[in-house]
Subunit: 350 residues, 2 copies
């Protein structure tokens, strides 16, 4: 199969941007005094194409998959933790579960390629390409067909979801390694600068991880185009997420990007369709080494800087869930705050 890229047009709309800015500027507050909340409100208005954006039925999707490379000791945890954590998500005990509940947000877990057979459950969607990727130190993590399948799965997933906002979560022991490899190759950065502690490696273990990842890069010198790079290094959960990001962008959903892994999926998607980034809100700058570099690659500038800087390095979508109420706040500010005129408040003296 081949993957058909959804159409993701430029949503720049100077007239709407001007109307939104005018509306923000006339709220009862000094000009610009809500800082980052104002740029967020402007972006949400542009994504949803309205001066009165309203976020409906936010969907937290946790993409899960296993990594053949994990057998090389690149993670502090065994691969079994992937399926155990999927069970934890479904049982409601994981961080993203409790935060999704706090915010009244639907949570869907997708088995994109976990090395485990799950019993069917509400909130669990099985889109298993294979039980884990192959070891990228020995060959490509997935075949081109598997990669296309995962991308298509991601597209179909989003088509079936209600609402206008997608929050990206993930689980996969070994997936910081995949994300580091994607960043290094796609951005042309040194692998040492892209590699961090993941779930909690010490310095010696990080050095070993870097050595492994450097060998993996040398194993795939020919992988240069985004989907080749994705197939060489990526996980099934990352490839499925890329498909979902592309479809969500095509539908003009608000995409709330979690940490290092979710950002790596957005990086791949943006190489295929740059306007994806117009739809992305970066929830946080994580504690994982390389995430700041990744965000810079994604053009997270002053207007689009990450909302939180909490030193998070959990993944799961926990940072996206934590930041979610800030997006709602930006919308209610835009919709419900009074203007100087409507409230009868004196404006600044000229």
């Amino acid at each position: 199969m081949t993957f058909t890229l959804p159409s993701i047009p430029d949503i720049t709309d100077a007239a709407l941007a001007q109307r939104l800015q005018h509306k923000i500027d006339n709220k009862t507050k000094p000009l610009g005094s809500l800082g980052r909340l104002e740029t967020l409100a402007l972006q949400l208005g542009l994504i949803l194409g309205t001066e009165a954006p309203e976020l409906r039925a936010p969907q937290m999707v946790v993409f899960a998959g296993d990594h053949g490379l994990a057998a090389r000791g690149v993670s502090a945890y065994p691969s079994d933790v992937t399926w155990q954590m999927v069970e934890n998500f479904l049982a409601g005990g994981a961080c993203v579960s409790v935060l999704a509940r706090q915010h009244g947000m639907a949570l869907t877990v997708v088995d994109c390629g976990v090395r485990h057979d799950f019993a069917p459950r509400a909130s669990l969607v099985i889109r298993k390409v294979a039980p884990g990727t192959a070891d990228s130190a020995a060959g490509p993590a997935m075949t081109p067909e598997q990669c296309a399948q995962a991308l298509a799965n991601g597209v179909e997933l989003v088509k079936a979801l209600p609402g206008n906002a997608l929050l990206l979560g993930e689980m996969g022991i070994g997936n910081t390694s995949a994300a580091s490899l994607l960043l290094s190759r796609l951005a042309g950065l040194e692998i040492t600068d892209c590699t961090g502690a993941g779930t909690g490696l010490d310095d010696a273990a990080i050095a070993r991880k870097v050595t492994v990842l450097r060998e993996v890069l040398l194993k795939h010198p020919e992988a240069r185009a985004p989907l080749e790079v994705l197939a060489a290094f990526g996980g099934f959960e990352i490839a499925t997420m890329v498909g979902s990001v592309l479809q969500a962008a095509a539908e003009r959903r608000v995409i709330v990007v979690d940490g290092f892994i979710a950002s790596s999926a957005v990086l791949v998607a943006s190489k295929l369709a740059p306007h994806v980034l117009q739809r992305c809100v970066f929830a946080h700058r994580s504690g994982e080494r390389g995430h700041a570099l990744m965000l810079a690659q994604l053009g997270a500038n002053a207007a689009q800087q990450p909302l939180l800087d909490f030193g998070l390095r959990l993944g799961e979508g926990s940072g996206a869930a934590l930041a979610w109420p800030l997006l709602t706040s930006a919308c209610v500010m835009l919709r419900d705050m009074a203007s100087f005129e409507s409230a009868g408040v004196s404006e600044k003296s000229a």
Copy 2:
């Protein structure tokens, strides 16, 4: 009248801190991987004295007052904006109003000394010491009796409020000037470093503001003790807030500190009773020059760093309201997340 300082004991509890840390460390996540959310959860547990903290009936209180010094042109807005914004808070159209509504949070506006007579309203509490402070460039902003009255008002206010969390908001044209003066004198800092754009002054106007504030400081060389400094420079809304902070701390409520003005009240309170700071969560680092210095004075270190860095400079309690769901998230994480044992998830290999 003289003001009686409530008793604010040290709530350090090494045994509880250890139990909390143990509970956090055994949640199904890599050690420390929730970063700032973990230190927040630990602090909330210590304030509320429990391993299962639960925030109940959060109270947003907006303290309002006018400033005699405003007549010297230190603000971009006329003093009338103070009462107009109070009407806006009560009508539900101000930023803090819409955010309080978003979070299901009670909002009380307190007339601590606004130059206006308000019609009685639900949610409006009249504790007017006088219709605005005196001009601190000509003499003390308030008499010692007025200062003591405002402090006592703040204490009584909090005694009457339900719940276990107080969010600090304020409104008062001219009050960044008062806060800059408090910071400069109490911390021994240059007034230029403590003075910013407030509601939106340009560079020339900031320079004029600094000149005025320097003269005010020279006018009150004898004001050195915290309550003398407060009476010399402070607003009635700041003094009332100091009283409320002290009482909230005495009752072990969680105190959510907004921006520059709210922090100046906490600075005064902490000079009277240092353990106040144990109960304070700093919601954000504002865009107002001097706030970073203020936070450093308040010992907002790595574990207590402000939750948001949004470049806010609105006041009203808007930043405290924005950050509120993060406190709730810290509590649900602590209460509801599974442990490795309860979820059957493998721990990190040693």
